[in-house]
């Protein structure tokens, strides 16, 4: 009898208490997350918008249509995709390689600890300034190196066809430190006995890496890739750090999606276009996340 009463009472009481506890955070989430989200969604479908009075009217797909046919937005999308789908695999592979190398030489661990942590604690803007000089057409070390190798020096910061590549190289380098640290932490968790077993089993170095290290590290690799993809998709500060807030390189040639949205909103005051661009972006990100979830199930081993 009594247990039955408890069973019917408990969830009710707990439910009420739970809601009460949740209330403060729910208020915060509603005010700062859900309300703005709906506001953006609404804005994206205004037909007319007056910036000074912050009022819009009408409901239609005009803003969306404008953004989707805007060549600058196309440029922003293709640049962002380049930074993401070319940059991230390279930076993840590079970080993994370096981490495995450092991990295999115990004596190096201490020495490298500071070296590879350094870029992580310096701000992206400071690093950007350094890269500006590295990429400098006349005085930059990269062109110096190119000349040394007998290659044609390039206008890294001013050639519209090259600036996105420069930004990608910058993001690759800038994100390396954190990824190496995450991979080293992941490698630490792999039981060394598997490597001893592999040696006894006569496994070649290549096979140890591909058949043991990679699969056992796959949860970390996956996590790092996820973070990197999302981070790369939101690339903005790297562009600002290398160029300026005013323009993403010559003729905005290095523009990214977030830079585009920012520009539309603050520079041009076209809030409904900015909102429409954000909506398109949101749809792309949601699709990608869904895809990643499906792929994750197939490829990762969770020990």
């Amino acid at each position: 009898m009594s247990s039955k009463r408890q069973r019917t009472l408990r969830p009710h009481r707990n439910g009420a208490a739970a809601w009460l506890y949740l209330l403060p955070s729910l208020v915060v989430i509603t005010v700062f997350l859900i309300y703005p989200l709906f506001k953006v969604l609404r804005m994206g479908f205004y037909q007319k918008y007056v910036f000074i009075t912050d009022t819009g009217s009408g409901f239609g797909l005009d803003a969306l249509a404008y953004v989707l046919s805007d060549p600058v937005y196309h440029r922003a999308l293709s640049n962002t995709c380049f930074i993401t789908f070319v940059g991230v695999p390279i930076t993840v592979a590079l970080a993994l390689g370096i981490a495995v190398m450092i991990d295999s030489i115990p004596r190096f661990k201490g020495i490298f600890q500071n070296l590879y942590f350094l870029p992580y604690v310096t701000t992206v803007y400071a690093v950007g300034t350094v890269f500006k000089w590295l990429f400098h057409s006349d005085y930059g070390y990269i062109n110096f190196f190119f000349k040394f190798l007998g290659l044609e020096p390039q206008a890294w910061m001013t050639d519209p066809n090259l600036v996105t590549l420069s930004v990608t190289i910058f993001t690759i380098w800038n994100g390396l430190a954190l990824k190496i640290i995450l991979f080293l932490a992941g490698l630490q968790k792999v039981d060394k006995q598997y490597y001893q077993a592999a040696r006894i089993d006569g496994t070649s170095r290549r096979r140890v890496f591909f058949r043991i290290t990679l699969p056992l590290l796959s949860p970390t690799i996956w996590m790092v890739s996820m973070i990197s993809f999302i981070h790369a998709f939101k690339t903005y500060s790297a562009v600002v750090a290398m160029f300026d807030k005013e323009a993403a390189g010559p003729g905005n040639s290095a523009i990214t999606v977030v830079f585009y949205i920012y520009n539309m909103f603050f520079k041009k005051g076209q809030v409904h276009y900015a909102a429409a661009a954000a909506i398109v972006f949101l749809v792309i990100i949601i699709t990608m996340t869904a895809l990643q979830k499906i792929v994750a199930k197939k490829f990762t081993y969770y020990g």
Binding site: Y194, I200, G202, T203, S204, L216
Partner: protein, 355 residues
């Protein structure tokens, strides 16, 4: 397939700790040798040096006369079962067993066939497509043995393979290991710190302490003729009891009715070791029981003997209780004489009664 394994003055120095200290021995080919000793005595270290996972500090290791001291692990043809199995968690049982074969560039079909044969041999063929995490400890252990055996190793090394299992399973699996070893005839070293396990399945026992070999003998011989106090106390459960006595020309008198003559002529202080199963009700020495505990088919009793506590295992035919004063007889071959200074055995053979 069997192979003679010889160690010559093998030493391992872990920056100050002598984990293995000048060990020389020859393991009989095709036999199951037990490596026994308390925790931290260097068993795993010795095993890893034989496997090639650890470098020796000094000394030499020979497989069938060939010096393998500096050969890397992968070229030694050794199968090793780790204490915690170290099965690759992301591979199925089949992939785990096939792994060493694929490393050796065996064709996939024949590797699969061989893996299946091996799985049948250790009786795990119905789990071929499971991951290790989906297996019980005993099943994992069989997979580990299959993986070690599949490449037909010349030497099989087992590092406390049963220590993670429950008592019942250990009993079954140690017989299983014995069967597998007998059928394959592979020279095997079985590390354990469980003396009962070591005694029950091995052909020969190597007892270690602090990196030094204490005695090498067949299990029964080591139990019957322990070469030192340490060996005597390490083997046997409940353990042997020791008494400080005085010998006169090899004769030790426990009571006027119980005099033992040892095969050595020596006078002075000695340590007498008496195995608890050596006692039985009968004429000899009268003692008063302090405690009695009945364990199934036998009872453990304690009593004072020459001011020192002694233990005995008696059969349950005659029930006894604390406070009983009864006469006990002693089987002479269960009594051993040791030097009180260095703990070494005094006298080679058995003791016998004298009137």
């Amino acid at each position: 397939m069997d192979m003679k394994l010889t160690l010559e003055h093998v030493t391992k120095d872990f920056s100050g700790t002598l984990a293995v200290n000048d060990i020389s021995l020859t393991m009989q080919d095709g036999k199951l040798t037990g490596l026994l000793g308390p925790s931290g005595c260097g068993k795993s270290t010795l095993l890893y040096m034989i496997a090639g996972l650890e470098q020796v500090t000094s000394g030499h290791i020979y497989f069938d006369g060939q010096d393998v001291t500096t050969l890397p692990a992968e070229t030694r043809g050794v199968g090793l079962v780790f204490q915690n199995y170290a099965l690759y968690p992301h591979m199925t049982v089949e992939q785990n067993i096939m792994f060493p074969l694929l490393n050796a560039r065996v064709k996939k079909e024949s590797a699969q066939k061989k893996a299946r044969e091996m799985a049948r041999f250790v009786q795990i063929e119905e789990y071929m497509h499971r991951k290790p995490a989906q297996l019980s400890g005993g099943q994992q252990q069989r997979v580990a043995i299959a993986r070690a055996l599949v490449k037909s190793p010349q030497i099989l090394l087992l590092d406390e393979p049963l220590s993670n299992l429950d008592a019942r399973l250990r009993l079954d699996l140690r017989e299983e290991i014995r069967r597998i070893q007998k059928e394959t005839g592979v020279t095997t070293i079985f590390v354990t710190h469980d003396q009962e396990e070591a005694m029950s399945i091995t052909d020969e026992l190597v007892l270690m302490k602090n990196g030094i070999i204490q005695q090498i003998a067949a299990p029964q011989a080591m139990y019957r003729y322990p070469q030192s106090r340490f060996v005597a106390s390490f083997l046997g459960n409940p353990p042997i009891s020791f008494f400080n006595m005085v010998a006169e020309n090899g004769l030790v008198e426990l009571s006027p009715n119980l005099k033992l003559k040892f095969p050595i002529s020596l006078s002075g202080p000695v340590v007498l070791g008496i195995r608890p199963e050596g006692w039985a009700l009968g004429s000899g020495i009268v003692v008063e029981f302090l405690s009695v505990s009945v364990r199934g088919r036998e009872q453990y009793v304690s009593f004072m003997l020459h001011g020192q506590k002694a233990y005995a295992i008696l059969d349950t035919e005659n029930a006894v209780k604390p406070g009983d004063r009864l006469s006990l007889a002693l089987k002479p071959y269960c009594v051993h004489l040791f030097d009180p200074e260095n703990g070494l055995r005094l006298g080679k053979g058995d003791a016998h009664y004298v009137e």
